[in-house]
Amino acid sequence: MITFGDVVRRGGGWLPLIGLAGLVGSLGTLALPTVLGHAVDALVAGHGSGSWIVAAGVLIVISVVFDVVDAYAGTACVAGTTAWLRDRVVRHVFAVGPARSSRFETGDLVTRVSGNAVEAAQAGPAVVTTVAAALPPVGSLVLLAWIDPWLALALLAGLALVAGVLRTFALRSAEAMVAYQQTQGTIAARLAESLAGARTIAAAGTVEAEQQRVLTELPRLHEHGIGTWRIMARSSAQATLVGPLVLVAVLATGGIELLRNRITPGELFAASQYAVIGGGLGALTGVFSRLARAKAGVRRVSEVLDTTPVSYGTASLPDGPGALELRSVTVRAADAVLLDDVSLQVPGGCAVAVVGASGAGKSVLAEVAARLRSPDEGEVLLDGVALAELDHAALRAAVGCAFERPVLVGASIGDAVDVGRSVDVRAAARATHAHEFVSRLPEGYATPLAEAPMSGGEYQRLGLARAWPAQRLLVLDDATSSVDMVTEMQIARTLTDDHGGRTRLIVTHRAATAARADLVVWLAEGKVVATGTHDRLWERPEYREVFG
């Protein structure tokens, strides 16, 4: 759980400093024109200018000092809060576990960590600087009105004009930008195609023709680009006119007042400066949009942090062979029953194949057995202890899980297999026949993941090696489907000869794999149709159909 207030408070000691710097700076900005005006009057009068000049100097020094403080403190405060938020989000995603965090796409999570966290971290500075930022333009307007109400009115009229110009600009440029981006998208799509076909292009020697093809739309992009500048040209001309117009209006009104001796030359000077500062009223929308962005950022981050984490127990495992038991396990999704009252007993050390058509619930069964998902009803026990009661370390040391599409995480191949557990990486890789191809990579086990071109089967073998150190139960969810038959057979042999005698739960589509298992669990629509040996089940035509 996290609220906007939590993020603001995280700013801590920086916030009073930032707030003070902003406030003092703003007051200085407001006071300076008046002081300068008096200084001018005193200069003309020829006496008493000294104290005003000193006052102006002091104001300038103060505003410079606080400007420097503000420039540093704002960024430093946001940097610290951002790091804190990012770390919290990443840790929370892991605490929530794969089943519940899967509603967030990976790219979406990365955006929340890298982008939204920065926006959210602006919360503190945004709150304390809003007042300070609003003060100079609003105050100028008030001071201007105090000198002469017509001056304030002239300023407001000018600002309305600016807003109108900006609005039409936004509308027109949005249209031009859409056309520009569409053309850009076409070019990008063509480049993506060509990159995907790089091997064909390399072999055909057609790289120059491809470049031509990708760039076909470039002249159109050029045209659209020129169009955006034309719109910009018109708006900028209008905008350039408005600023001096406001200034001149204020100066003219003030000049007449000077003539009537109602104001001094100094006051006229002050009025002209207030007109310039008051022009900053338009920028106030920026201040509020910063606040709004911070709020939106906090909301995006808190969506992740509000997800309930998985809870672990405190029990450890008694000695045992790795007997797995499912008791009336039911798993539901939003609108479907994925596993329906499944009960199953697997004696320790056995190899069990789980078969069934696509969507039968095989992977869900594997996830439940590895506690990557918790059943909605029923429980899963390993050597008599419910998985939910096991403590985190005991659970993961006992149970390993390999997947059809493993995602390898780590700096290097070796790191991705070890994942911080200090296990015997080479032994695991040898057992899963990954060692052969890893040793052919440029730097062997030290090869960075990103620089290791690997096939699906090679990925799977590394995923298997990562799961290999599990002490009691290995869950293999279609984990060798892309491995060629010869290698798979060799891996299967290692599994059979596994003297550790671990229990294996093997989800598979291959008849040969099911044939080698001690027991086959046949699933259909979330229910167990039958259990038995492959040979016995093979007599049933519906069973044979499962294998196509």
Partner: protein, 567 residues
């Protein structure tokens, strides 16, 4: 940073650049005249009891603003003429670099982002820099002229601290650029690490590696925060530079005020001087610092990456001439992916005579595709050579090579465009009859009919992986090359379609080399090459069955007894 600045300047066409500078002059008029107009409006107008004169001077300011607006309009129009060609140049660089790297076998995941995102950053910052820099130049010159016409002594007082502040800012730019670059790198590192780690949430949970994974991201998170703090220092230093260049002139003018007045300077002149600082010098200096310190650094860093990524390794142009005949010969071929890596292929010898039909089999990851790449000249052998007609394929230029052999890889290439263009990619001069024959031969009739015939437009997303392979097969069939290498090019086809395609190529004439996905491909071939990681055996099906245990193993597992696989 020097390279990026030089690149931006060199890319600028001279004529529009000069025109842009000239139109900037009226744009700077309001700022240049502001102090002068104020001084005269007060002194000879409002204070001298002549309101008409005062208003007249202010009207002059308004006229200047009108001229400024016209200038501003022209400046932005001309800006397009500078910026768009620059963007075109960048797009060409990105596309050329990405394709160049891709055909050299280096995957380039960032190319699309570079095209859509980074090019736009450079385009915007380039434009912004041009606007601000010439604005700065023209305004400062205009303000100096204006101050001179009010009173030269003002220039002598105001300009030195202003230039000092500007110099101090420029002196800190190098440091600022380094820190900015560090922050950008930290940002990317964080996004990459977070992406990799968060994509593996399931796998991390399964291995209980939550702490390890959190620690993996902690490093980049902290590095990024440190980089931001370093930038905060730069921001603070920049504020000091602005104080020096923007505020000190004001203080100097005030302090010198009594002396100036005693020298006969009028109230209007003092006000004019102050106005020049507050409306002229201070804002342009602030703009310059924001633009150069922000956009300028973004420009340099982003353009630097685009230029780096576009740089292709210079290789000697292959200059050999095509040899005699179509015999493909492999002599003592050894290949490894790195200096410390085990070789994928070791001392391989092989002769494929013209008209041969060879299947290459072996477990996955054993180097079959690598061999295909070497045979086709896409990879350079570590030792030994691959000769086509007696000439090393690695020495043949791409177009000569394309006439000698065709490679169809597993990932078939189709592009958005005409079906015809896709099919005749390797034989642009093919006549409709030959194309129709090729379509029928490889069994792509149904596909071509479904997508609307050869005259239709092909939408890659609407084709299945198998259909893409059919398009690639027709293409290879039409190619003039006598040697065809199919690298698992039929793996997404069903066994019947695969058989038809392979038979079509066998009847096409010339040499056919098939990297086999199914054992049936080996059974159809005249000869089979078995790769087992340490050596290779070549022979016909019958001989290999007797001599190669691995071949027997492969055969056995391709044909599990219970489930007769599609032969």
């Amino acid at each position: 940073m020097k390279r990026e600045i030089a690149f931006g300047v060199a890319a600028m066409p001279r004529k529009p650049a000069v025109a842009l500078l000239l139109w900037s002059v009226p744009e700077a008029l309001p700022a240049s005249l502001s102090g002068l107009a104020v001084a005269h409006a007060v002194d000879s107008g409002f204070l001298a009891d002549r309101p008409a004169v005062g208003l007249g001077w202010l009207a002059l300011l308004l006229v200047a603003a009108g001229l400024g607006a016209i200038g501003s309009r022209q400046v932005y129009r001309l800006l397009g003429g500078l910026v768009e060609p620059f963007r075109d140049l960048l797009v060409r660089k990105v596309v050329g670099g990405a394709l160049g790297h891709a055909v050299r076998g280096k995957a380039d995941d960032g190319a699309i982002a570079r095209l859509t995102h980074q090019v736009e950053i450079v385009r915007d910052t380039y434009a912004g820099l041009i606007v601000v820099l010439r604005g700065f130049l023209v305004t400062v010159i205009g303000v100096v002229i204006g101050m001179l016409s009010v009173d030269p002594v003002i220039v002598a007082l105001l300009l030195p601290p202003f230039l000092l502040g500007l110099g101090a800012f420029l002196a800190t730019l190098g440091m600022a650029a380094d820190r900015f670059r560090r922050s950008v790198r930290a940002d990317e590192q964080l996004a990459v690490t977070a992406g990799a780690v968060l994509a593996g949430t399931r796998d991390i949970a399964a291995t209980g590696a939550e702490e390890h994974a959190a620690a993996m991201t902690k490093g980049p998170i902290e590095a990024q925060a440190d980089a931001e703090r370093a930038i905060a220092t730069v921001a603070a230093v920049r504020s000091l530079c602005l104080a020096l260049g923007g505020w000190v002139p004001l203080v100097v003018l005030l302090v010198a005020g009594p002396w100036l007045v005693s020298r006969g300077l009028t109230a209007g002149a003092v006000m004019g001087g102050l106005t020049y600082v507050l409306i002229g010098l201070q804002p342009v200096l602030r703009n310059l610092m924001t633009a150069v310190g922000g956009s300028g650094l973004r420009y340099a860093v982003t353009l630097g990456r685009i230029l780096d990524a576009a740089e292709l390794p210079s290789e000697p142009e292959p200059r050999a001439h095509a040899g005699q005949g179509d015999e493909l010969a492999v002599r003592g071929l050894t290949f490894a992916y790195g200096p410390h890596a085990e070789p994928v292929l070791r001392d391989l010898d092989l002769v494929v005579p013209p008209g041969d039909h060879l299947a290459i089999v072996g477990p996955s990851g054993i180097g079959k595709s690598t061999l295909a790449g070497l045979l086709c000249g896409l990879l350079r052998p570590g030792e030994g050579a691959v000769l086509l007609g007696g000439v090393p394929v690695a020495d043949l230029p791409a177009d000569q090579l394309a006439r000698g052999r065709t490679l169809i890889p597993q990932e078939a290439y189709v592009f958005a465009g005409g079906v015809w263009d896709n099919l005749t990619y390797l034989a642009p001069d093919a006549d409709p009859e030959r194309v129709a024959h090729a379509i029928t031969a490889v069994g792509a009739d149904a596909l071509v009919a479904r997508i609307g015939g050869v005259g239709a437009t092909l939408v890659p997303a609407e084709l299945s992986a198998g259909e893409r392979q059919q398009v690639a097969l027709v293409r290879a069939y039409l190619s003039p090359a006598p040697v065809v290498v199919l690298d698992e090019a039929t793996c997404h086809l069903d066994p019947v379609a695969e058989r038809r395609a392979e038979e079509a190529f066998a009847e096409r004439g010339g040499t056919l080399i098939v990297i086999a996905h199914r054992v049936s491909s080996a059974l159809r071939a005249r000869r089979v090459l078995v790769l087992d990681g340490t050596g290779a055996a070549v022979g016909d099906h019958r001989t290999l069955q007797e001599t190669s245990p691995l071949y027997r193993d492969l055969l056995g597992h391709w044909n599990p007894d219970r489930r007769l696989e599609e032969v």
